[in-house]
Symmetry: C2
Subunit: 147 residues, 2 copies
């Protein structure tokens, strides 16, 4: 993990479809050198995949919110399966603290949101917050473009 690896990660985080040739130009290395480094980053698990970023808003799901779900422990694993089966849920983290689950939801309307919350209330207490904005978009930890 030197300066070149960091540059590669930053570049691929910003545009995951860069070719090795193009990547090589941006980080000032040769294409084979870059290909070699990327392969190592992939095999070591630092890069775990590549993904198209999809905008739920443009897909017809303009409302996003975060729901903290306080589950009763016994039902825990069953709940997770139910959550996986709900297409409105676009992410879910298991966390410490009373809540237990931090769920992210994207819906088309408030009435759908109401239905989702009603279903989640079967499994425990919910605390819902609407997502207004993303002041810090997803980024790489401790890697700024300072070279």
């Amino acid at each position: 993990m030197d300066k070149f690896d960091r540059k590669i990660l930053v570049a691929l985080h910003e545009n995951g479809r860069l070719s090795f040739a193009e990547l090589a130009r941006r980080v000032n290395l040769s294409a084979p050198a870059v290909a070699d480094r990327v392969e190592k980053l992939e095999r070591s698990g630092v890069i775990s995949g590549y993904r198209a970023i999809i905008n739920p808003e443009k897909l017809g799901y303009p409302i996003q919110c975060v729901i903290e779900l306080t589950v009763k422990n016994l039902e825990y694993y069953g709940v997770v399966d139910k959550l996986k089966a709900m297409p409105e849920i676009i992410a879910c983290d298991s966390i410490t603290g009373s809540s237990g689950l931090m769920i992210r939801v994207a819906v088309d309307s408030m009435s759908t949101l109401q239905e989702v919350i009603a279903r989640l209330m079967q499994y425990g207490d919910t605390k819902t917050s609407m997502v207004i904005d993303q002041p810090v978009p997803p980024r790489i930890p401790a890697l700024r473009e300072d070279d």
Copy 2:
């Protein structure tokens, strides 16, 4: 947005580096047809970019947590700039409710976490939860592979 567009989105969400030729094979269309559809999805904003998925754990930041920060309104915009300057913060959402900010942090150690929390406490009350697991990994809203 028909069945083919959905297949394309699912495929590119799973592997953002697929070539048009390879994508065409997977969705049973010709390469030019796929290229055309992808370009439209990009221009309409449904696909807003491509990104390498980077594993903070393998980068030396094995600890992740979510911090709800209840800020005093007056300081709000100043706070966001401070957050952007903190490399340990890998994402941040502005949300409704008392908290106001939902911050995601990746750190190398508990002592670093302690420092981060200490800094955030300058701006308001904090509620920290450790992220244990990701039962539902990030996915596309309402698009299941049902074709």
